[in-house]
Homo-oligomer: 205 residues x 2
DNA sequence: TAGATTGTTAATCGATTAACAATC
DNA sequence: TAGATTGTTAATCGATTAACAATC
C-alpha cells in the first residue's frame, strides 16, 4: 500500500503516532515543531521532517505541525481507519497475554480469535477471545477476512503453522517463535525473538 | 564489549546461532557452507561470510564452516557462557509469560525475579520466579548483580520504571511499553512495540 | 587439475545528516 | 524586518552486494 516509503521511515510512523497521541489534549500543544518531536524521541530533526513529509501533512514555518492534523495524517497513512482482522496461533503464555492486550485497537486491528491444538484450551475464552482448534483455521480466517496473523507457537511448530496460515489466506505474519520462517515471496514477515533481543543488549554492554 | 561490529551484524548473530543449534546433531552436518546458511535464513551469502568473520571462526574453502566450532564461536561472541542476570518489572500478562519462558537460558541469561507494585502479586511465584515489591528493586538487582532488565509495565509507568532501574544499576533495558523511554546516554535500550509491529505489517500489504 | 568455497577489496545502494533556500 | 521553522538538495555515512583472488 505504501510501497514508496523507506522501510525505516515506515517503522518510525507508529512511534510518531504514539508520541503525538500521548501529548495532553488541553490546547497547550496545538502545534508542535519537528525539533520538539525529535528531542522527545531521540531522533534527528531533519529525519523527523523527512518522515513526516510522507504523511503529506504540511508543517508551517515558524509554528510547526498542527498536532491534530498530523495525528490524523499518520492514522490515515497507517490505515488505522480500515478495520483489519488478525488471528493468533498458539494460546500459551505469550499468546494469552496478547489476547488480553488492548493495544491493537489503536491501529485499527482486531485480534479476532486464537487457534490452538490443545483440547484443554479449545472452546475456552482467553481475554474475552474464543480459542478454536487449529483444524478450523481456514474457516476462522475466512469468517473475519483475516489478513494478519501472530505466531506464538513453539519453534518446532512455527514453520508448519506459517504454511497453514498462508493457505488460509494470511498475507502478513508476526512471528514470536525463535526460528526464521519461510513463507512465500509476497508474504510479509516480522520476527520478534525476545531472548535474542536480550542477548543482543547483553553483548552491547 | 563488541563495539567494533556493525549494529546489523550483531543483530543477526543470535539468528545464526539459533539456526545452527537447530540442525540435527547426527554428524550429517559437521560442516556447513555460507551458501547453505544464507539459503535457510534468506540472507545473501556474502553477508553471511562477512558476519561470521566477526566470530573469528575460519571457514575452509570447499567444505565450509565447522558447525560445532562455529556454534562455539557464536556463543563466545555473544558471551553465552558469562552468566548474566535480568530482572523483570511488571508481572501482568506479558510479564508472566516471560517469567515462564525458558529461552533466555540459551543465551546465558537468567531472569531472576519479577518486581511489581501490586500487593496481590507480591510474594507469589510466577513461572517459578518470585515476585517482589518494586520498592525493593535496588536490593533485588544488587543481590544477583543484574545488569539487564525487561520493562513490561503500562506505558504511563515505563519512564519512571526505567529511571528506577538505572538507579538500581541496570545497564540495558528491553522495553515492551509502547513509549520511547529516555534513559541515560550509556544505557542501552531496545523497544519492542507489538501492536506497532502488527500495524507496520498491515501497512505493507 | 578443476571445481567449490572462503575472504577481501571495490562498487552500489539506501538511510541519515548537513547545508541552505523558502516561508511565515 | 528579524528570527524561527519548514522542506529540499547535496554530502556523508553505513550496510549490502558484486567482483575476484586465494585456497583446499
Amino acid at each position: 500500500m505504501n510501497r514508496d516509503i523507506p522501510e525505516f521511515s515506515l517503522q518510525r510512523m507508529p512511534i510518531y503516532l504514539n508520541y503525538l497521541r500521548s501529548l495532553p489534549d488541553d490546547g497547550t500543544c496545538g502545534y508542535i515543531s519537528s525539533g520538539a518531536i525529535a528531542q522527545a524521541l531521540g531522533f534527528g530533526e531533519v529525519l523527523v521532517r523527512k518522515d513526516l513529509a510522507y504523511t503529506c501533512c504540511a508543517g508551517r514555518p515558524k509554528v510547526g505541525y498542527p498536532r491534530a492534523e498530523l495525528i490524523a495524517a499518520l492514522e490515515n497513512f497507517l490505515c488505522v481507519n480500515d478495520k483489519k482482522c488478525a488471528v493468533l496461533v498458539g494460546a500459551g503464555g505469550l499468546g494469552s497475554a496478547l489476547l488480553s492486550y488492548g493495544g491493537f485497537a489503536h491501529y485499527g486491528i482486531e485480534l479476532a480469535c486464537a487457534l490452538d491444538p490443545d483440547r484443554e484450551k479449545i472452546g475456552s475464552l482467553i481475554g474475552g477471545k474464543h480459542v478454536y482448534s487449529v483444524d478450523i483455521m481456514g474457516e476462522k480466517c475466512a469468517e473475519c477476512s483475516a489478513t494478519l496473523a501472530i505466531i506464538a507457537v513453539p519453534a518446532a511448530a512455527a514453520q508448519q503453522t506459517a504454511e497453514e496460515l498462508v493457505s488460509a489466506g494470511i498475507k502478513a505474519i508476526l512471528n514470536f517463535a525463535p526460528v526464521q520462517i519461510n513463507a512465500g515471496e509476497d508474504i510479509k514477515v516480522i520476527n520478534i525473538d525476545v531472548a535474542a533481543n536480550l542477548a543482543i543488549l547483553a553483548s552491547m554492554l
